[in-house]
């Protein structure tokens, strides 16, 4: 198992990725220290509806963070796809047939690898959040936004597991090309749905949407949100494990190893 995981680590150029990620975190720290919330410059100051003075640098960094989370989610998918492409290109699965290696272990290695990537990127995101919050000014609106960025971390990573609960079996059972086709069709459908909403939907809903209302709603339903944040990792891990069991069932009955 360790060998399979190491192979996947090498296939995504793991050493370079790790050094790059560490470097980016350090760069983020340096920039955050230089452009902290205490860096007062008239050009960067704004006033909220509540009359609070907000440093736009804080807003810029806070805006970056959800984008970083999105990038991390995509990176997990990207890295997993790379491992599958690497295996297909180098005929790893055919090579494995010649070894006393259980097909179950190969499948497990993919699931574990995605799990490890999810954990690592979640940890990196938390580190970035901690760095950001330490140098952010103590304005209520900003603090609430930062708390929201923290709150979406675990559910977002649960979403990664849910996505891969479908992605991994499709890749292993049908191959990477077909899997990418399914993925493209899926996201195109989502894209069409969004465009259709903007063309034909009731856009007044967006006018009524207010960030403050979201914060108030979150405060009002703190217990329900706490329960969701507790249960979401457990539920998603359960489905992830279930997906593994189903994939193993079909993969063991697959004739030969498709390349």
């Amino acid at each position: 198992m360790g060998g399979l995981l190491y192979k996947d680590f090498v296939s995504i150029k793991g050493k370079q990725v790790s050094i790059t990620m560490a470097g980016l975190v350090i760069l983020f720290l340096i920039f955050r220290v230089i452009f902290s919330g205490n860096y007062i410059n008239e050009n960067f100051m704004a006033v909220t509806e509540a009359g609070e003075m907000v440093n736009m640098l804080d807003v810029i960094f806070l805006t970056i963070l959800p984008s970083v989370l999105y990038v991390f989610i995509m990176l997990v998918s990207f890295c997993f796809n790379k491992t599958v492409v690497y295996d297909e290109k180098n005929k790893v699965r055919s090579y494995m047939l010649a070894l006393p290696l259980d097909k179950k272990k190969y499948v497990a290695s993919k699931y574990i690898f995605v799990g490890i990537l999810t954990y690592v990127f979640l940890s990196l995101y938390y580190i970035l959040l901690v760095i950001n919050n330490a140098f952010m000014s103590d304005v209520e609106r900003l603090v609430n936004s930062a708390n929201l960025c923290m709150a979406i971390a675990v559910p977002s990573m649960c979403l990664v597991l849910i996505m891969h609960m479908v992605d991994i079996p499709v890749n292993l059972l049908f191959g990477n090309v077909k899997a990418r086709t399914f993925q493209t069709i899926f996201w195109l459908m989502v894209g069409f749905a969004v465009v259709a909403f903007f063309l034909f939907g009731d856009l007044d809903i967006l006018d009524k949407w207010d960030f403050l209302k979201l914060i108030e709603w979150a405060d009002k339903h703190a217990f329900e949100l706490t329960v969701v944040s507790i249960l979401s990792p457990v539920i998603s891990l359960f489905f992830f494990w279930l997906s593994y069991k189903i994939t193993v069932f079909f993969y063991e009955r697959k004739e030969g190893m498709d390349e």
Binding site: Y119, V130, N133, A222
Partner: protein, 305 residues
């Protein structure tokens, strides 16, 4: 085994670990604010110093050229194996902190009745429903945000403790090995406690308002680290991995307890209840540590994770 070489390697690790951590703690708190004065965001930022032991471990292996094996003998112990009933130690890692804290709180309420406040959680503005699911929330958040605890355990249990166990001849069987284990965990605990000294001096864990601050606090921290260290070392040796220890450490930091919402130390009227309300938790910890030390038998560190 070349004891001189192992000692040299250990000293290199300690130099890196203390150097990096103390530098971080100093740079991030140059105004020497106390733990109570600083914001929770700053506390979390300073707590990133918990990644120093992991960094020290990696740097030490680079310098000593010991390699970066993930599992097995003389490895970093980053691998995970659930075979041979090792999954039990992962379960223990999750529930032992809750048992220890809750049992300590039960004894605190029984013997220090003045501290019992049935509405304390209301003063803390905690929803009662959230209070009752708090242990589960703490366990799950501990497991998923265990990277900081992993940062510590990767160094202390992943490098320091195996070296200390070897140096004191604790890997064999018999009385000599048992004595060696006791010495190893005590020395390891004291080192770990001293590593926390800059934080203890700012009031982390024990505050600043106690007699003998900060020296008594540092001594208490060494004692606490020794006792917790025994449990963490036990769980690491038995599982062959630092991950159960990381999970246990993270869950412990989250403080999974329902009864914490009912114990109000502001109601203390005596010297003991004011400064040593945690004495019952300490007693529970001593018992658990003694059991772990006894169970830490003469079996070698598993060669395969």
């Amino acid at each position: 085994m070349n004891k001189k070489l192992e000692l040299k390697r250990l000293l290199i690790y300690l130099a890196f670990s203390f150097g990096l951590a103390y530098a971080w703690f100093f740079i991030t708190n140059m105004k020497f604010e106390t733990w109570g004065e600083m914001s929770s965001a700053k506390e979390s930022f300073i707590a990133l110093g918990m990644l120093a032991p992991l960094s020290a471990h990696i740097l030490t292996r680079l310098v000593t050229k010991e390699g970066f094996k993930l599992y097995g003998k003389d490895s970093m112990m980053f691998g995970i194996s659930l075979k041979d009933k090792k999954w039990i130690f992962f379960v223990l890692a999750i529930i032992l902190p809750w048992i220890y804290i809750e049992l300590g709180n039960v004894l605190t309420i029984l013997f220090f009745r003045e501290l019992y406040d049935p509405e304390y959680y209301l003063k803390l503005e905690i929803d009662k429903r959230i209070l009752y699911i708090y242990p589960l929330a703490a366990i799950i958040s501990g497991v998923f945000a265990s990277f900081a605890a992993f940062g510590e355990e990767a160094g202390w249990r992943g490098y320091m403790m195996p070296k200390l166990l070897k140096l004191f001849g604790a890997e064999g069987e018999g009385k000599g090995a048992f004595r060696g284990r006791i010495l190893a965990v005590i020395i390891g605990g004291i080192i770990w406690g001293l590593w926390h000294a800059p934080l203890t001096c700012t009031g982390h864990n024990f505050g600043t308002d106690y007699p003998g601050f900060p020296y008594v606090g540092i001594a208490r921290m060494c004692l606490f680290c020794t006792l917790i260290g025994i449990m963490l070392t036990f769980i690491t040796v038995k599982s062959g991995s630092v991950w159960p220890a990381a999970i246990m450490h993270a869950v412990l930091n989250s403080g999974p307890s329902i009864l914490n919402g009912y114990i109000n130390t502001d109601l203390a009227t005596t010297w003991v209840t004011k400064y040593y309300s945690g004495v019952w938790q300490l007693l529970v910890l001593i018992v658990l540590a003694a059991i772990c030390l006894k169970l830490l038998s003469g079996k070698r560190v598993p060669t395969k994770a």
